[in-house]
């Protein structure tokens, strides 16, 4: 497994958690569509990437799932954020902002005096 995937999976977890926070309980397909839309269709998610990630988050206790019925009457598994997931989202958001801020300082053209 290359480094690239690790980074990608790390950010995917954050995207999933954020999506669930803003949309409330949602099935896998809905999460995938939302992430794709938010990214301006720059990202594409297939089963092979999304579902193992959902399973992992569930194993870690950040999300929980129940079977339910979708808006157009299909049986689907709905995922929702747990309390631990909410905390994790806050933490990861903070970490991410910090990381991007540091990186931005490196990449910004002007050196502060």
């Amino acid at each position: 497994m290359g480094e690239k995937t690790d980074v990608w999976q790390g950010t995917l977890a954050l995207m999933v958690l954020k999506t669930l926070e803003s949309m409330g309980p949602q099935h896998g397909y809905g999460i995938a569509r939302r992430i794709e839309q938010t990214s301006g269709d720059q990202l594409q998610l297939n089963y092979g990437t999304l579902y193992p990630q959902l399973l992992k988050l569930e194993q870690e206790g950040y999300i929980a799932s129940d079977w339910g019925v979708s808006e157009n009457n299909r049986r689907a598994r709905f995922y929702r954020l747990t309390r631990a997931g909410r905390n994790q989202l806050k933490k990861e958001t903070r970490d991410w902002e910090q990381a991007t801020a540091i990186l931005a300082r490196f990449l910004s053209p002007k050196e502060p005096a």
Partner: protein, 900 residues
Amino acid sequence: MRSLRALFLKISGMFSRRRRDWEMEHEFQAHLQMQIDDNIRSGMNAEEARREALLKTGGLEAARENYREQGGLPFLETLSQDVRYGARMLRKNPGFTFVAVLTLALGIGANTAIFSVVNAVLLAKLPVAEPDRLVALWETESSPGNFPFAAPDYLDWQAQNQTLESSVLYRGTRPINGSHNGESQSVMAMATQATYFSVLGVKAQIGRTFLPGEDQAANRHVAVLSYGFWLKSFAGRQDALNQTLELDNEKYSVIGVLPEWFRFPLRAEVFIPLDMNEKALPPRGTHGYLAMARLKKGVSSQQAQADLATIAARLEKQFPNSNNKVSAVVVPLAEQLVGNNRRKLLLLLAAVGAVLLLACANVANLLLAKATGRQKEMSLRAVLGASRRRVVRQLLTESVMLSLSGGLIGLAAGVWLVKMMEASQQLPIPRHNAIQIDQTVLLFTFLLSVVVGVVFGLAPAFQAAKAELGEELKSTAQTVVNASRFTRLLRDGLVVAELSVSLVLLVVAGLLLHSFVRMNRTDLGVDPQNVMTGLLILPDAKYPTQEARGRFCDRLLQDVHGLPGVQSAALSTEIPPEGGWNGSIEVPSDKDPAHASQLVEYNYVSPGYFKTMGIPLKRGAIFTPADMERAAAINLKLVELYKQNPALTSVPPELTVSTIINSTMARMYWPNQEAVGKTFKGAGLSLQVVGIVGDVKQFGARSLPTPQAYFPLPLNQDSSSFGAILTVKSTGSPESVVAGVRGRLRDIDGSLAFFDPRTMDTVIAQNIQDASLETWMFGSLALLALVLASVGLYSVLAYLVSQRTREIGIRMALGAQPGHVLKLIMKHALALTTLGIVLGVLATLLATRLMEGMLFGVTQHDPLTFFGVVGVLTAVALVACYVPARRAARVDPLVALRYE
């Protein structure tokens, strides 16, 4: 915490796989449907919508695989699959499995046993508090080496040092006459300063250990018992405390019992306080005490040695006569206890390691033969999609299963061997830690088994991984697949290695055997036939004076002499080959500086000693009864003189006593002169040589003859706790004498024990017991190695023949004679054997360097042993080759051609 929770869910996921798969399928299905629904809503027709959706959601099979991996532990799942498959394969070949497991069990069992000894002796620490701070203290003298303590020196060191937290002076463990509940027995007792247990940091299990001040005359009648002695003599009763134990006719009150694990020193049964009053201790210059100390925190043994050497230098200035060249030596206690056992144990560990390597090589050979037959199976698996890594893993799982089974049986054998060793009193190694299978040994055996499995499994696994995909499947006509060149080389290489390793072991064992035979044949200078020995100790309470001791000795010798079948009897303070006292002498005419540090062995004997031991008189005469009486009288006067002046240096010439010396001493101090009649000074006496006797190897077969002086026994009878060894030569069996001696002893004094009766033959055998044990151990390992190597050679050749049956058949059909075929196979075998022996000899020349000091009378390159071993190995190898070669020569061409 989160990852732990995930791991737990993954493990439980392994057991709910079916349900998880069902949910996954439904979820994926729903996802696809929703995508299709969306596509239709955006205007596609049903067909188009489905195709787009499938494209977008990606490969279903890969997704399933990823999902399952996340859901469970794929590594474990594959492992359990491999284990199940492996077990099936091993069950299918019971013969192979049996041989392989047994071979490995042998190797692993031997390693477990030897490692448990190494663990107890070299690795495990002394089971006391902070053992790293414990050190043994020694003094030096004018002669090289470490010497026991002079008690007054110790007292000064104890008072003036800056580096020791605490220290203790004690005497070597020795037998004394004990009696409890009216029963007399010999007791191994250790007399010590009261600090012994506090230095070691050991508390009593029942009662207490010594209090400060109990090592003074008034308080010293207290005893601490070892756990074993408590069980033996007090039946392990709690009320043993405050009971009375009589030791050498003095009453001691039991104050405590030590824990079961405590065994330092190993043989001590009873600990009693030493009288530490300076007046009760012998003067400076008499070196007879041992000492131990606990270093202050952060102090190294070198620092302590420097500190104590400063004190010793001061004492040397203050007492130039007694303390000439007396300095300090500090040795970490662990090092002291291991002594020269380290190298021997490591050599033994190397030898069992080599045997295990041989076992591995044999099993690897078997596996290689089997793997060649399994190539088709491996190819099939590869065609069906198994990756190379997966195939290697499968094969390694099988071999580790084999080695773990071998390890389990080996562990059982190891437990048995360890029990035997622990029970054996004769194992010549320090035994302050119990030899046992503890956690470390268990871990060692487990890791060894796994490593062994991987080592011998790598070769066949590697070979299988090289198999060309599909290549083997095509050759369906051929039932026996020819081994690749690589495999053949590997198998030949393994056999060559086996032969050379077993050659090394055989030479090591051969050298030990040869040296043992030499030792056994060495003339000690005595005639041990029909001689019985035993120790007598006269307690001071009942025999307080030289006269009382003298009377006892005379009466005993007279009575024993009167026993039926007794030819002669004697008392002496030493017997060969168990060493003894020594000291330096002063010969007026001798100016050789090389003799300045020469020590002369002292032995105080009754006149019958030389006849009883069969030591020949070379010149002059043996002591007469008159010599003995005169010596007794002179000694009384001398004791008086020394009492008046402890620093007395010259003895009046009229107090000169007769002495007998050995040939070596006569040659050394009076070369080309008549030594009889010459005088010299030694042991605080003025001495005149009256006779010269033959040399005796006082320290056993391995020692060189040393100068030796025999003094009349009464000269030693002023010493407290006088002890002497009774030797009796009889016409009949020496054992029959013991009952007679005990009977006479009872008549004289019922409270005295006849300690440790042994025949002289036993005494001599015990002296070389460590050598006999080493010979036995290395010998059996070498034999095992020989068997393993010849089995390896045999199996390689037998397999070669079975592979070449068809070829041989064709050759014979074309007119080759059986002789040619025999030659063909033997040529291969001889090449392997020769190469193995050449490499083995080279390795042996390196390995035997480690044996320095273990050999007697043979060099490390003893040609007889080398040629003998090469001969034996060649002969065994030829027999192992001949059987398959003959089978090849008898191949019936018709049968061989139909063999396919």
